[in-house]
């Protein structure tokens, strides 16, 4: 009954005209960003974040959340039609989606991606509703050691599940923590690493950092290239999948939804990992695995459902624990902080309008996305034809305005440009920006909880092992941490044994 009342309350907020408009703008922007290769949800949210400063916190989060799950819908369009993923979570869709398009089945591919995303998104929201409240109550038992342990696990998982080298990911996590310390110490208020620059007393702002690292860097990488992706010249017809398509895809949609939702809850999980896992699962259990990579509809339905369900799952730790499980949620975390709200178990009690308003707007947003993505596909195809030489100056301009508008200061613009150079070099030297960004956003929480824990325990680290929740979480973190090193040493030893034996 409680959930029903809360839902009604949520719809009363979600259906307010300002919030419907915010939701619509969010999902439209998200779909557009998803369709356009070269800029992902992180770049889009960081660019549009300053526009939310004049909105209420509810409307701001509704819009930004709309961008996040909207991107997942839009990303499949370019994957299927151009064989270029609109964003990372749609990489896997290229494998079978493009093949389906080449076989003249672009319509059913696009259709099943849209319907699968809708069903998964809806199931994910139901899961969010059911899990959030009990988990929030459980989280009230968390103290500084538990929070420190969970955040550390999250940072470790993000590092290990990122696409590049684990060592480089760990280095980026450490560097992110260092960057988060620039400015005034939150306990003693003494300046740290400010180098007598007054603007650094407030620390480095998140917005120019992420805009530079993801927005500007992506543009710098793209303008080096001179590729012009060609759109597949095929007629897009029969957007509604046939009965046999539904029979083949229904299991994949359901499995993708469940897998995606739980992967989304895990720190470091999210759309990318869940889409890959879903594809692997479908291929493994399929009666005809040889069809995968040649136009199997399950290869589109499963991953697209998984990446959408993951977006709903990601809101569970965000709202209940106040811990963003991935970079996009870290930006939403930052957005709520800018609006004076603190995500966490108390948010559901003190600001139920934010939680239930966002949940209900996600139902509304999913319906909007289904309408936007099916009949408007020909329009999105036209958008793909906009030359990059027109797009990139506009994206840069939005980044510049966004950075400047924070404090009306050119300093933030320069910070953005510097991080743009850093992000560009990261791509050249195979470093990932995601662990850095997550560590940067979580750094203040890490420091506060670590120092409070050590003060409580009079300097003893045993406090993390004497409390059951933190003990379990820290143990998992340690196992995760040392596993790659152990396997590396075992591999090296085997190689050495093998080469000695053959001599």
């Amino acid at each position: 009954m409680d959930i029903f009342h809360n839902l009604l309350y949520g719809f009363s907020i979600g259906l307010q005209p300002a919030n419907i408009l915010a939701c619509f703008i969010g999902v439209l922007m998200g779909t557009l960003v998803g369709v356009l290769p070269g800029i992902g949800p992180v770049g889009a949210i960081s660019i549009l974040l300053p526009t939310t400063f004049h909105m209420s916190p509810v409307s701001a989060i509704i819009m930004l959340a709309g961008i996040y799950y909207g991107v997942m819908y839009g990303g499949s369009t370019t994957s299927i039609l151009v064989n270029i993923p609109g964003e990372a979570a749609s990489v896997v869709t290229c494998l079978d989606g493009y093949q389906m398009a080449k076989q003249g089945r672009a319509g059913p591919a696009l259709g099943i991606a849209a319907f699968g995303s809708f069903i998964a998104g809806t199931l994910g929201i139901v899961g969010l509703m059911l899990f959030a409240s009990p988990l929030a109550e459980f989280a009230l038992r968390f103290g500084p050691p538990e929070y420190f342990a969970v955040i550390l696990l999250g940072l470790t998982l993000v590092t290990f599940l990122s696409q590049g080298s684990v060592i480089k990911g760990l280095m980026m996590g450490a560097f992110g923590l260092i960057l988060s310390c620039v400015g005034l110490d939150q306990i003693s208020a003494s300046p740290r690493m400010t180098f007598n620059i007054i603007q650094l007393l407030d620390g480095i702002d998140m917005v120019p950092l992420v805009m530079g690292l993801f927005g500007v860097a992506e543009i710098l990488i793209n303008i080096e290239e001179s590729t012009n992706p060609e759109i597949l010249k095929t007629k897009i017809k029969n957007l509604f999948p046939s009965k046999s398509d539904w029979i083949q895809a229904k299991g994949a949609i359901l499995r993708g939804s469940i897998l995606g939702f739980f992967m989304g809850i895990l720190p470091g999980g999210g759309g990318v990992v869940s889409s890959f896992l879903s594809y692997s699962l479908e291929k493994r259990i399929s009666k005809n695995p040889e069809k995968f990579g040649k136009g199997a509809i399950e290869g589109v339905a499963g991953p697209e459902s998984a990446n959408n369900a993951a977006t709903s799952g990601a809101f569970v730790p965000f709202f209940t624990l106040g811990i963003p499980p991935n970079v996009v949620m870290a930006l939403l975390f930052g957005a709520l902080m800018i609006h004076g709200m603190r995500p966490g178990p108390l948010l559901l009690q003190d600001h139920p309008d934010i939680f239930w308003g966002v949940v209900c707007s996600m139902y509304i947003g999913n319906v909007m996305l289904l309408i936007l993505n099916l009949p408007l596909i020909p329009m999105w195809v036209q958008v793909l034809k906009v030359p990059y030489r027109i797009l990139f100056p506009l994206i840069l301009l939005f980044c510049l305005i966004g950075s400047y508008s924070l404090k009306n200061s050119s300093f933030d613009v320069i910070v953005m440009i510097i991080f743009g150079i850093i992000g560009y070099l990261f791509k050249k030297f195979d470093y990932e920006g995601a662990p850095l960004t997550l560590a940067f956003v979580l750094g203040p929480m890490v420091e506060l909880n670590l120092r409070q824990s050590l003060l409580l325990s009079k300097g003893s680290f045993l406090i993390f092992f004497t409390r059951p929740i933190s003990a379990i979480v820290i143990t998992i973190t340690i196992i995760l941490f040392i596993t790659p090193f152990i396997s590396y040493f075992i591999k090296t030893k085997k190689k050495h044994k093998h080469s000695t034996g053959s001599n």
Partner: protein, 152 residues
Amino acid sequence: MNFRDQLSGFFWLVISIFVCVESIKSGVGTFRFPGPGFLPFWSGVALGTFAIILVATDLLKEKVGRKSKNLSEGKKWSNVILVLVSLFAYALLLPRLGYLITTFGLMVFLFSLIGKPRLWIQGVSALITVLATYIIFYVWLDVRLPKGILGF
């Protein structure tokens, strides 16, 4: 041996030493009473340790006989440098000349970077962009854009 990993590893080692020195100046404190430099110091130590591991594992790897990727092959580096210079110039000139003039200049330059369209097309595109963004951000969203010498 991967030259890029070696170079970046040594770079991060230098950064970690720098961070540790700065943290000591701020006061690391003790485990019982952690100071302001506590987290940056230990993060710096972690960064340095991982950098050493990166360099060491790369040195220990057997030669695979593959060339490491050439960073500059087939790339238009000049575009990157030009964009960065224009962005820095924009940041410095924005408070002095104002949003309208500075942005118009930047847009004309950026639109000309790829494809070399005609000057009048660049000018018109830049003008439309500046006016549209001025209306959206300054008028509608109430973002305080600098006025500069034009006074608006």
